[in-house]
């Protein structure tokens, strides 16, 4: 607890926390390793001990983002009720997360990640899709979803929600409130996934 201990002690986590905050406020482009080091009262090369690259830091942020997103999705999917209701809850949770962390989402899905962390990110992204696939499989068992590979139907569902979030963040929704667009999207999606009458 001296004034400025030589070893920071929690530099790695401190970097991640601060980077997360900067990312949310200024976007990925506004994230500078040197500025981060300054903010934490540490030399400009210190971050390199914990993150080889700037990209390594960004990848770590993306991993963190996927982890939290997946937790949120799992939480929404675990609620009681029929599969269809839980699917809409899942969709709302996803869009909620997306709209709350715009630059994080961009980081997570614009795949310019390093080769090594790319595998981990893909796996994490896949986990989120798996949650949706599980729900769809349940819906199929309950007879409220068309037959077919649940994983592929999950891809379609995910696409719709992710696209909607992107549209909203891009300001392309115009005067349409996101809530209403989301309701319609979920309605159309569920109707599309329902078994052919």
């Amino acid at each position: 607890m001296t004034d400025s201990p030589y070893h920071h002690g929690h530099l790695r986590t401190a970097l991640l926390e601060r980077a997360e905050s900067v990312l949310a406020q200024s976007g990925a482009d506004g994230l500078s390793l040197r500025a981060l080091a300054r903010d934490l009262g540490v030399s400009h090369a210190a971050p390199a001990r914990h993150f080889r690259d700037r990209q390594a830091l960004l990848d770590a942020l993306a991993v963190s983002g996927f982890t939290r997103l997946n937790a949120a999705l799992r939480g929404a999917a675990a609620a009681p009720g029929p599969p269809s209701a839980r699917l809409t809850a899942l969709g709302r949770a996803y869009v909620e997360f997306a709209v709350t962390h715009p630059p994080l989402l961009a980081l997570m899905f614009t795949a310019k990640h390093a080769e090594d962390s790319s595998a981990e990110l893909r796996e994490l992204g896949h986990a989120g899709l798996g949650v949706a696939a599980g729900l769809i499989a349940e819906a199929q068992a309950a007879g409220t979803a068309r037959p077919g590979d649940p994983a592929r139907l999950a891809q379609v569902a995910f696409s719709t929600l992710h696209g909607l979030a992107t549209l909203s963040l891009g300001g392309l929704l115009d005067d349409t409130p996101l809530d209403e667009a989301l309701d319609l999207a979920l309605e159309v999606l569920l109707a599309g996934i329902a078994p052919a009458s």
Copy 2:
């Protein structure tokens, strides 16, 4: 036609062309004004005469992208046939464009544009949505689409396709061929948009 004329003559368009090429190959992050100037045999500050900012160049690229995308969409929508078939053609055209120009798409939809050009970009994006809305209105007239504001249904349709393209580019589609995922997405979308039975 001297060796190195003081005035380049077509610097602005040359910059755009070269920038487009670099963008496609190295992404937006790899686009440097100075490198561009070097490539064109011009001083490092010359580009500033045509693009105030680096961001201004990126915005111009986004505008160009939207213009071409809209042209492609309009072409697909103008084909003969029933509205539903033209809607799938529209979707295929969109995904085709998206997958062919990944960094361009990211530039177009990750809204960190300057205030002034933001309006133009929104308008261009809106134009693309308008094409879809028109087709949906036709489908409604033909009785193959549920009632409701065509613009809002277009938002949903656009979301699905855009999201699918993003998923594909992010490598989240895994072993699923894009074609198959696209077919399924279009099928689900059309079923979801169809009138309630």
